[in-house]
Symmetry: C2
Subunit: 277 residues, 2 copies
């Protein structure tokens, strides 16, 4: 049987393969400098860190290890956000039944050292994050390892970091709220039928229609993020229409990456709940 | 860094993704009942057995574990032959420099218990193998675990089994000869350029043109196996022509599965020799 760490690796692979996922790399779509194979190698490289999370290692260190492993390919940052979501989910699944409460408990128990691991992970890849709004009082993630003295001095846990980031980042909100959108999306996958790569694409489209994507907002602003959300709402789960949308997004360099992160989390939860691929 | 077991898992994924590979599932092609996702799940499931091989566990038991893990998906036998090749390659790479001599040494050192593990692996999936010719004196693999008393009584090592199978099976021949075709094909991958999934496809095409595929011979006879080899020779490494060939093979239900196994072995060797995806 596959363990939680195995299912997290498979979730990364199924997320990358789900097609069509407008604006993102998928089984049939890629960019010149960011290819499907980079996601395969990124997922495999992350495996060791995922197994550390499963085995009960420190959460921040496990996340750092997974990101360090992920970067051994030529595509750059392939799955940073996915791993941020998957690491606590793997730990919760390894410790007992995977529920919103159990994963929220894992997140709530994180320490200052976990926060240091999170900041250190930014040493390994360039992650697209915008400047923090003035009302969010956190060290800039761009500081990476240089942020850790401040993190320790101020006694910030990883939970604190995610809690303060939650107004601007959908992954951080999942973290502090028990992954409500991911759990709901996993039910959509379990209730669906047809090939796995299409079920994943429909889960992605439903999540994209729910809320503006955090990464699109960071890269293109609120107006474009809402426009993307609306176009996904129009498409629904029509995969032909989604394929047409994919062409438009690529032209405009729109990449709803945070929605892909949530999709990976949803696939993991579905696999843990018995989805047989 | 990726370990040998990680590289074996990545080799399975890159092999499955390499496109076009006429007659086999690839990134863009699949069958109604054998889909791309089955290969992803099969590869991830095999991971534990590959790590056992890396850690120095008994080779036959590691192979059995990898096949048992592989079968947790709905596609049936996805990677039995690939794993048979990869398990000794992983062990050799974990123990020191990976060379034809080192992997041949690993294979030559296999025991009667390793042969029992090999036979037991047939319990988990249906593997397409033909009846043994009368001059090959081995228990039928269809006996699976029931063959082990005979294997022990006759003192057959896994090396013996592969050695006697080598006239009819290209994987068995690689096993006893130090993987000459796989090592040569890995050089083709390292010397090539372009996207990884295309480099893998060209490696597959070159191997297919070299010799009649064992599985095609088992399923369709010698004449068709030679015809497939000739059509691959005509195509060379022209991927457009290969895509056209893929359509013809699918119509005729021709599946050069042994060539895919050798391709996975070649990808693994290339990764161990520094191929940066």
């Amino acid at each position: 049987m596959r363990t939680p760490a195995d299912n997290a690796l498979l979730a990364l692979l199924l997320e990358a393969s789900g097609t069509p996922k407008p604006g993102n790399v998928d089984r049939h779509r890629e960019y010149e400098d960011l290819r499907f194979e980079h996601f395969l190698a990124g997922a495999v490289g992350a495996g060791s860190g995922l197994r550390t999370a499963e085995a009960g290692g420190e959460l921040g260190a496990a996340f750092e290890e997974s990101v360090e492993g992920m970067r051994h390919q030529r595509g750059g940052n392939t799955q940073f956000g996915c791993l941020l979501d998957l690491v606590p989910l793997v730990r919760a699944a390894a410790d007992g039944p995977l529920t919103p409460e159990s994963v929220r408990g894992v997140c709530a128990a994180t320490t200052v050292e976990d926060a240091c691991g999170f900041y250190r992970a930014f040493e390994y890849v360039d992650v697209a994050v915008g400047a923090l709004p003035s009302d969010i009082d956190l060290p800039d993630v761009g500081l990476a390892a240089d942020a850790t003295p401040t993190v320790r001095e101020r006694g910030l846990t990883l939970w604190d970091v995610m809690d303060r980031s939650s107004p601007i980042d959908a992954n951080a909100r999942e973290w502090v709220e028990g992954f409500p959108r991911s759990f709901a999306a996993s039910e959509g996958i379990l209730d669906d039928d047809g090939p796995a790569t299409e079920r994943v694409a429909r889960a992605f489209l439903r999540l994209l229609a729910e809320e503006p994507d955090s990464l699109v907002r960071t890269q293109h602003g609120e107006r474009v993020a809402r426009e993307v959300q609306e176009s996904a709402t129009d498409v629904g789960t029509d995969l032909d229409a989604a394929a047409a949308l994919a062409e438009k997004y690529v032209e405009r360099d729109i990449n709803p990456g945070t929605t892909a992160d949530l999709t990976a989390a949803a696939v993991f939860i579905a696999l843990e709940r018995g989805w047989e691929v």
